[in-house]
Structure formats: C-alpha cells, structure tokens
C-alpha cells in the first residue's frame, strides 16, 4: 500500500512538473492570490459572493478548481473537514485571478477580433462580478440593450487539465480501494472542462431558457450569439439580488417561504421534468427579486441525467413503503446494477440510513398532516452530511449522481440561509 502510494506520488509530482512548465496549474492561481495579500485581492472584485468565500478558513481558499470539486467529493465523506466548511464548499466557485483592463481587452480582441469598446456602445472595463473561470463586465450594445459580458481568463483549460493529471495520480489509492468510483474523476473532469467552452454554456442557457418557461417565477438570460465565442459570453442582464444583499434587506418570513418553495420547485422540476439540472449551486448564480422571483445565471455546469437515473429517483423519492422491505432493496439493487455496480450490504445499509435519517425527516411521507419543513434549524444539514459520510465509507457513491447531490446540498444550504419553511413533500409529489 505504502509502495503504491509513493509511486503514484512520484508520478503525480513529475506530471505536475510537466504541467507547470507548460501552462501552470489552476492551483497556482490560488498561490498567486496568497502572495498578493488581502488588499490587492479584494480591490478589484467587490462581488457579493466573495463574502461567502471569505467566511471560509484560508487553507480552504487554496482548494480551487479541479482540486476543489474533487476535494468536495472526497472530503465530504472522509470526515476530515468540519461540516460547516463542507457546506460552504458546495457553493464555492472556481474563480480565476482577476484580469486588469489591458488583459481583458487582449483576451476579448483575440476572441472576437476587435476591442470591446469598438464592438459595444459602452463597455465597463471594471468587472462587476467574478464568474467561473473568468469575470463579468457591464456593457451596452449598439442597439441600446444592457448586457453582461463574461470573459474567460487565458489558458484556463490547460491549467485544469494539468490539475486533473495530478489528481488522477494522487487519488489512485482511493480508486483502488473503491472509495472513489472509477468514473467519478471522468465525470468531474468532463463537467469542468465543459465549463471552459462558453459556447457549450450558451447552448445550456438556451436549453434552460426554453424548457424552464413553464415556471413563471424563473428567469434565464438570453444569449447574444453575435457577441459570444468560446471565451466570451454575452447575455442579457438579469434583475435581482444576490442572497447576501437580499437578506440584508430583511425580507419577511412570508417572502422567504415563498422563495424557498420556488427554489425547491425549481430543483425538482429540473430533475423530474427536464431530466437536466443547473448544477452549479454557487450563490453568485442565483438572483432573487422582491416578488420571490429567481434569476439563474451561469450555465457552465449543467448535468443532463440518464433516463434510468430519473426513473430510479422517481421511484425512490417519497417511497411509500418501508425502507427495509424487499421491494425497496430490489429498487436499489436494480439501479446499482444499471450503473454497472453491485450493491454491497454495507452500501445498502448506508442508503437505508440516508432515507430514514434524512429524507423521511425532511420529506415527511404523510402529506395530509405535514407542516412545511423548517430549514432554519441546522440539524438537517448535519444529518445530511453524516448520511453522506456513511455512504462514502460504504463505497456507495455513484458518479452519475455527484453533480445532482452537489446541487441538492447547495439548495439546502441556500434554504437554510433563507430560514425558509418549505412544502417539501407536496412539491415533489407534483412532479412524481
């Protein structure tokens, strides 16, 4: 074991060396951040979400990009990190170093052939928000439309690829022991690399804009393809406030409850109706309005789920019978089989524990007498984390569900911050 460990370590180091030589590593950006100190770092991006990130311990800040997302799936279960920190991690975003105006112009020009000032009627060289892998600027088109222009930091794709090379090697022991399923790293890498192509994000945004239309309380930006490329994405400006600003205005319990219901419905509508999910739960990606509306931004990370997965979830959600019944057991076995895995007894016990200790509490099966669930009480988050840890120890993590679970945890985290009381089971029932 130790031999195997040291070999993979050495391999990781040599691979990392190659990587750093060519394009550096995404983690390198974090080191650069550390060197610059708080003042310079905070100067450029006054975006609200950094406040969320700042709450985290400094060591956690250096876990970014690929490291961060993989770290999430790993540490979530091994219990190496405090629970609150994990909850924060789920909503942390991959943030590249801020770009000064000259770099923004160089990057924009290389992508669209001209400087932003000559393409737009107005362009604000100072970013108003950090985004996954880049930053966002205000602009006004020649037709007078106010837009948000997202610009990617150069060379990010290669940096991420380098980090993944390293992590593949570093996580060999965990892969061998079965704690990380074979496909998990592929799944995470695929999703993250997809985020570096803004054209894919444009496709995602258009898909969700069309398909989320039945939910009248949700807004999705319109993509302006003529001002977009793989590294620049221009979209209509969304209205609403980030959660920090929204909460700062002390919204009423009624409004928070309404918003909670909406967030909840949005999640289950996506999973059960669209079979696709906006899977980046970062707080910067949600804007809330005073009439309980939700504006979604940043569609870099979208998870399109398989039919069998959605079928399994449909059957498992609000399971009416006993979770120790042979039928429930058969349901679990069949799904694991479909995913090419065998359901070990320990995994089954962990899943039953999850259903009993978390889902039955948050989603009461008795609809007639059910009170809305109060997400203000932090106990449910602890239950969720404890159950996930058990599942990880029992080697029950399925690659297919990594992003859904992350989004689900992000939603719970937001609901907790809103202290919302939500009609959980009634909403899920609507779409079963």
């Amino acid at each position: 074991m130790s031999d195997e460990h040291s070999t993979s370590m050495r391999r990781a180091l040599s691979l990392a060396n190659i990587g750093v030589g060519v394009a550096g590593s995404y983690l390198g950006y974090a080191l650069q951040h550390a060197f610059l100190g708080e003042g310079e770092r905070g100067a450029k991006l006054k975006a609200t979400h950094t406040r969320a990130a700042r709450r985290m311990a400094d060591e956690m800040k250096s876990l970014r990009g690929a490291a961060m997302k993989l770290g999430q799936t790993l540490s979530l279960q091994t219990g190496t990190l405090p629970d609150e920190m994990l909850a924060e991690l789920a909503t942390l975003q991959m943030s590249a170093p801020p770009m000064h105006p000259s770099l923004v112009r160089a990057q924009f020009k290389q992508s669209l052939g001209a400087e932003p000032e000559s393409i737009f009627k107005e362009f604000d060289p100072e970013p108003f928000a950090a985004a996954s892998l880049g930053q966002v600027h205000h602009a006004i088109t020649n037709k007078g439309e106010r837009v948000a222009v997202k610009i990617q930091y150069p060379g990010i794709r290669q940096s991420l690829a380098n980090d993944f090379k390293m992590f593949r090697a570093l996580s060999k022991p965990a892969q061998a022991s079965g704690h990380i399923p074979k496909g998990a790293i592929d799944e995470v890498e695929q999703q993250i690399v997809a985020e570096t192509d803004y054209r894919k994000e444009a496709d995602n945004a258009e898909f969700f804009r069309k398909r989320l239309a039945p939910l009248t309380f949700v807004e999705v930006p319109r993509i302006l393809r003529e001002y977009s490329s793989d590294k620049v994405l221009t979209m209509s400006l969304m209205k609403g406030q980030h959660i920090d600003d929204f909460l700062a205005r002390r919204p009423s319990q009624k409004l928070r409850n309404q918003l909670g219901d909406h967030l909840f419905e949005l999640f289950y509508f996506q999973v059960l109706e669209l079979q696709a999910l906006h899977a980046d739960p970062h707080w910067g990606n949600y804007l809330f309005t005073n009439d309980a509306g939700i504006s979604l931004v940043d569609f870099g990370c979208a998870k399109y789920m398989s039919k069998s997965t959605v079928g399994y979830l449909r059957a498992g959600f609000l399971y009416p019978g006993s979770t120790s019944s042979p039928e429930f057991r058969h349901l679990l076995e069949k799904y694991y089989e479909d995913e090419g895995r065998q359901l070990a007894p320990a995994t089954r016990r962990a899943l039953v524990g999850f259903a009993e200790n978390f889902y039955r509490k948050v989603y009461p099966p008795d609809l007639e007498h059910a009170e809305p669930f109060d997400f203000g009480d932090p106990q449910f988050l602890n239950d969720f984390l404890a159950a996930s840890k058990d599942l990880f120890r029992a080697r029950g993590v399925l690659s297919e569900l990594i992003f859904m679970v992350r989004a689900e945890m992000g939603m719970y985290q937001t609901l907790h911050r809103l202290k919302a009381k939500v009609h959980t089971s009634a909403i899920v029932r609507k779409y079963l």
Binding site: G24, Y29, P97, P101, L103, P154, G155
Partner: protein
C-alpha cells in the same frame, strides 16, 4: 469600407478650402514655394523606398528564413536595383535592426498614447508594453526565432554588443524605468536600479516563451505575462521591506 469613408472625409474639406480662398491673396513665388516642398517630397519618396525594402525583406525573412535571404533577392522583391538597397541599409542585419527599432517605438507609443493607461498599475503598463511588442512581432514569428539565434553570433549587428543594438536597448529600458518610477518613486525602490536590467532578461524569456507557445491564440503567453508581471510588480513594491 472604413478607408473609403475616411478618404471621402479628407477630400471634402480640401474642396471647400479652394472655393473659399479669396483671389486677392498673394501667392508665394514659385521659387520660395517649391524649395521646401521639393525637399519634403524627396524625403517622402526616400521613406517610401525604405519601407518598401523593409517590407520586402521581412516577407522574405519570414518565408525563406533570415540566413537564406540575400540583399539581391530583397532588391528584386522590392522592384529596385541591388545598389539602391545599399543606399539605405548597410546589410540585411541593418534592415532587421531597423525593424526592431520600429517595433520598440510603436510599442512605447502604444503605451504612452493610450489615455486609459495613465493611471493603470505598473503590471498593467508593462503588460501593455510587452503585449504591444508581441502583437507587432506576431506576423513575423518565424523570422523572430531565427533573428534571436542570429543575434547570438559575436559579429552580428543585431547582437547585444553592437552599438546600435545597445542604443535601442538603452532607450527601451529607459522607458521601462520611467514606467516603474511612475508607480514606485525612486526613494521607495531600493532595487529600482536593477529592475530595468532584470526586466530585459525577463523580456527575452517572455519572447522565448511566446515563440515556443503552441496554444491556440498564444493563450498561455497571455497568462504567463499576466501572472509573472503581477508577481514581479508585487515583489518590487515590497522590496523596501527587505533591502536597506
């Protein structure tokens, strides 16, 4: 499209001027008028030929390589006699040096003439400078590579020991020094005397990095410049703490 529009624009006021000129105005005599104009014309023609030669030479350096290009071929490409080339340049090295002088001048002008950069931090100004240089060099990438190797030959006028090349480097580094002083006053920068020299080595490194960068659109070079300059500027700003 754009050129058409500008030519029309410039043509219009000239017409208006001739119409508005009153007849009474005493025109300068032929002699006084033609002398400076003729000199100006001659200078303009000279400059045009010089540019023609440089353009022809660069296109040959790029396609045939620096070593394989002869002055004869340059003359033929430019459509002039070989002897005429020597009226303007001593050798093809001389032509290359002229190109690098233009490159440095245009990059310095790009930084100075950009009002947006007036209050920019040091790392941004330096980024703009190097980026402008690389943009200028981009069409001749192949030639730049061979010129770098050629410059290492001891007798080469492009080499670091030729008088003209030294002068160019001095002018460039003086400018870098100015940029640094704008951000960090001399008194607060005990390493200031060293900074331009270090920057020169850095620039050479960046040039090599750029030449070897096979990423699409030289994306890695952009990231490299950004990260290294930010780091460098931060170190310079903090140097007072460590050096007495």
């Amino acid at each position: 499209m754009a050129t058409k529009r500008t030519s029309r624009k410039t043509a219009a006021p000239r017409k208006a001027k001739t119409k508005a000129t009153p007849r009474k105005v005493v025109r300068p005599s032929r002699q006084t008028r033609s002398k400076p104009q003729a000199t100006a014309n001659r200078a303009a023609t000279k400059e045009a030929i010089r540019e023609k030669i440089v353009k022809a030479a660069l296109s040959l350096f790029q396609t045939k390589g620096f070593d394989a290009t002869t002055t004869k071929a340059i003359a033929r490409k430019a459509g002039i006699a070989e002897g005429t080339v020597f009226n303007y340049f001593k050798s093809k090295d001389d032509i290359a040096l002229h190109f690098f002088e233009q490159e440095v001048d245009s990059a310095m002008a790009a930084v100075r003439d950009n009002p947006r950069l007036k209050k920019a931090p040091l790392e941004e100004k330096l980024f703009a400078l190097v980026h402008a240089q690389l943009e200028y060099l981009a069409p001749y990438e192949r030639f730049i590579g061979s010129a770098l190797i050629h410059a290492l030959k001891p007798s080469s006028p492009l080499g670091p020991f030729s008088h003209r090349a030294m002068e160019l480097r001095h002018r460039y580094l003086r400018f870098v020094e100015e940029l640094i002083e704008e951000s960090i006053p001399k008194k607060q920068n005990p390493l200031g005397f060293l900074a331009p020299e270090v920057f020169w080595i850095y620039y050479m490194g960046a040039l090599l990095y750029w030449l070897y960068d096979t990423s699409e659109g030289k994306q890695h070079t952009l990231a490299f410049l950004d990260r290294s300059l930010t780091l460098g500027a931060a170190m310079l700003k903090q140097s007072k703490r460590y050096v007495r």
